[in-house]
Amino acid sequence: MTTIRVSNLHFSYQEDFEVLKEINVEFDHRSTAIIGQNGAGKTTFVKLLKGLLLPTQGDIWIKDYNTKENTVAFLAQHIGLVFQNPNDQIFKSNVLDEVSFGPCNIGFDQKTATEKAKDALQMVGLLDKQNLNPYDLTLSERKLVSIASIVAMDTDILIFDEPTIAQDFVGREKVKQIIKDLIRKGKLVITIIHDMDFVAETFDRAIVFYNGNILLDGDTREVFSHKEELKKAYLEPPHVTQLANRLGIDKVFLNDEELTNYLKNIELKPQA
């Protein structure tokens, strides 16, 4: 099942400099991480998917809707995007109103919108703070509010732009849990992220952007096995894989459990 189709996409902000060149890619149900150096064109790419920017050449279809022919507000029923900085969107004086703003906009009635908002707050663990002013929350909680406000819109596609920014370990685990919950509910989750451990632990598919182009695209494990290309894009495999490689095991491990299981099962060689 294809949910997003990008064909022959070119984009530039200024005439003489192409930010994205000749991108052809399809997204299915698999959760996908978009990785790459700063300035590789990742944020521009997701803004194009969302319809906030329009291709200078080529087309993007979200389900059956071409982003060129539909308004951003219409596309919002199908695709949600969580921005990097939560302060760019928060304007209501309590958390619940803030989170139900999106669902109200895309045509849910007040009652359903409130229900969706409460479900979303439950998911991010802020239900008990629904009546507080968002600006009384910490930055990491506000980030969760901004995530909840997109989750509440109940779109089939969700995009996160660096969701782990400003999160401590607990917050990071929370975000991971939210993403996994969404995947379980059958949503397509696309995430821009710089934390390779997070990518390995959470996503099925990884796409590497380099210089406005797609350098690698495939199952996360497979992508992390292309050491040369990763180096070219200034990326490193997950720490657990790096550790294994230093131990002389030339395999990709996505989490510590995989490595410990592997180590338990090999026979210890007698010391020479």
Binding site: V72, A73, D88, Q89, F91, F101, N105, S149, I150
Partner: protein
Amino acid sequence: MRSLSLYQQGDSILHKLDPLTKILYIVVALALPSITASVKVSIACIISGLLLITFAKVLKNMVPIVSFSTIVILTIFIIQGMFYYANENVLFTLGPMTFYREGMLYALKIGLRIYNIITSVSLLVLTTRPSDLIEALVRKGLSPKIGYVLSSILQIIPQMTSMMNTITDAQRARGMETEGSLLVRMKAFIPLLGPMVMSSLVGTRERAMALEVRAFSSSRKKTFLNKPMESAQSTIWRVVLLIILIGAVIWRVTS
């Protein structure tokens, strides 16, 4: 980043001239027509301004400023030409409208003054980096705090524009319509303004602290990063300008 100023990059003598001398030029160019009360002097000042601007290769940047003020000046001609209190002699009639000689002359005087102001001030703003101007004023004793306020205004407005774009995107991403009828736009106002005001307030506090950790309000005498722009050339310019000014005063008093 884009900055809020009309400054045009260049390397003419006028670009290298220090800002205070250019300010002195404005003062003299504006004072001369009043002192001499002569239309010819007004025209001479405008021409000299235009020549200097042409010399600094920024003449084409003046076009939008001039064309805007021309609209204003046209209305002055219409109103004064028809309704000036001393109107007596008919100059010409245009359908039901009658224009008088006295009013048109009066409008001409005002028009010349406005063009004079525009040319001489353009000379300053088109060839001077705002930060250089502010630094020159601070050197002459303007409080550095006011200097900071002035330069930050120029930086903050473009910054706010780009922040506004991000906020608009974030709200559109949540299904908010921002384009369409007046009602739609008005409804969109609060969701856009809220984050804007909050972010600006938070930003101001952060900026104040960032300045303070770098000893902004220290009472020590501050030094400057850049060398002063004044040169021997500035002195010559200043002396010449002052001589012209004093000469005009003497001419007026004696004649």
